[in-house]
C-alpha cells in the first residue's frame, strides 16, 4: 500500500503523523520549507526549521517513530504528477490552493486513483474531508487570503488531521470512502 500525501503543511503533516501506525509506504510531496511560525500549527519541530517540509517530516518520522517514508521536495505539476502519483494506491490532497487540488483531481480521475481531500476555511472554524467524487475545490474569497500558518487554528487543525487519518484508515482497512464535516461543535459523517 502506497499513500501519497500532497501538501504536508498544517493538515497534511498532522494527518501523516496520525497514519504512522499503518502498514503502508508514506510518500510526502511538498516544495515548501519549514518556517519558525509553522511549528505553531504544523507537525514540525524546531530542529526542522529551514528544511524542506517533505524531507523534514520524513526525518521526524524516522527519528521519532522509526517509521520510513519517502520525501519529494518538489511542486506538483502537470509534468511530474504521473511520476509522483502514478504508483499510489491512495492520494491525499492537503494542498492550500485550488489549482493544485484540481491538478491532482484531474489526474486521479484519469488514472482511476482513490483520492481524498482535506480542506479548511480561512477562519479556522470549519473543515471537510471529502472523497474526490463528491468534492469541488473552493477558491479563496480574496486572493492571498491568510492561511493556517500560525497557531491560532491549531485545535481545529488537530481535529481535521485526526479526521483525515481516520478516513484514510477506514479506506485501507474496509474500503469505505467516508466523508466528514468538522466544525467547532461536531465531527459529522456526511457520506460513506
Amino acid at each position: 500500500m502506497r499513500i501519497v500525501f500532497c501538501g504536508v503543511g498544517a493538515l497534511g503533516s498532522t494527518a501523516v503523523v496520525l497514519c504512522r501506525n499503518l502498514d503502508a509506504t508514506l510518500c510526502l510531496v511538498d516544495f515548501d520549507r519549514v518556517e519558525s511560525k509553522n511549528v505553531l500549527a504544523q507537525a514540525f519541530v524546531k530542529q526542522s526549521i529551514g528544511k524542506n517540509k517533505a524531507e523534514a517530516l520524513k526525518l521526524q518520522l524516522q527519528n521519532f517513530y522509526g517509521v520510513k517514508a519517502e520525501a519529494f521536495g518538489v511542486k506538483l505539476t502537470q509534468e511530474n504528477v504521473e511520476a509522483l502519483c502514478g504508483a499510489a494506491d491512495l492520494l491525499v490532497d492537503c494542498f492550500d490552493n485550488m489549482a493544485s487540488r484540481k491538478l491532482l483531481s484531474d489526474f486521479a480521475i484519469k488514472a482511476g486513483k482513490a483520492l481524498v481531500h482535506g480542506a479548511v476555511s480561512g477562519d479556522g472554524t470549519f473543515g471537510v474531508v471529502r472523497w474526490d467524487e463528491r468534492f469541488t475545490p473552493d477558491a479563496e474569497d480574496v486572493e492571498g487570503q491568510a492561511t493556517c500558518e500560525g497557531g491560532e487554528h491549531l485545535p481545529l487543525i488537530g481535529v481535521m488531521g485526526a479526521a483525515i487519518a481516520r478516513c484514510i484508515q477506514d479506506f485501507i482497512k474496509a474500503g469505505v470512502r467516508r466523508d466528514v464535516m468538522v466544525s467547532l461543535n461536531a465531527v459529522t459523517p456526511t457520506a460513506g
Binding site: 497534511g12 480542506a119 472554524t125 471537510v128 466544525s183
Partner: protein, 81 residues
C-alpha cells in the same frame, strides 16, 4: 422534505426544510439568514445577522442514507497546507 445544515462561526446544526419545490442556492441562503436570525436553528441564534451573511458560502447537496435530500450551507474551504 429536505434537511438544511448550516455552519457559521464554527457551529453547525440541522434545520428541517418543509418545502415541496426545488430550492435554488439563493433560496437556501435567504432561508438560512431568516432561520438563523429568528433562532429557529438550535444553537445558532444570531439576531443581527446581515442579509448577505451567506453570500460567499457554498451550497452542497447530497442524498442522505435514508434517501432524503441534505443541503449543506458552509464556508468555503480553500486551505490545507
Amino acid at each position: 422534505m429536505a434537511t438544511l445544515n448550516i455552519t457559521i462561526n464554527g457551529m453547525s446544526a440541522d434545520y428541517p426544510l418543509e418545502v415541496d419545490y426545488a430550492l435554488s442556492d439563493a433560496d437556501v441562503r435567504r432561508i438560512a439568514v431568516e432561520v438563523v436570525r429568528s433562532g429557529d436553528v438550535a444553537g445558532l441564534r444570531l439576531p443581527h445577522l446581515g442579509d448577505g451573511a451567506f453570500d460567499h458560502y457554498v451550497v452542497d447537496r447530497f442524498r442522505g442514507p435514508q434517501g432524503g435530500e441534505r443541503i449543506y450551507l458552509r464556508p468555503k474551504v480553500p486551505f490545507g497546507a
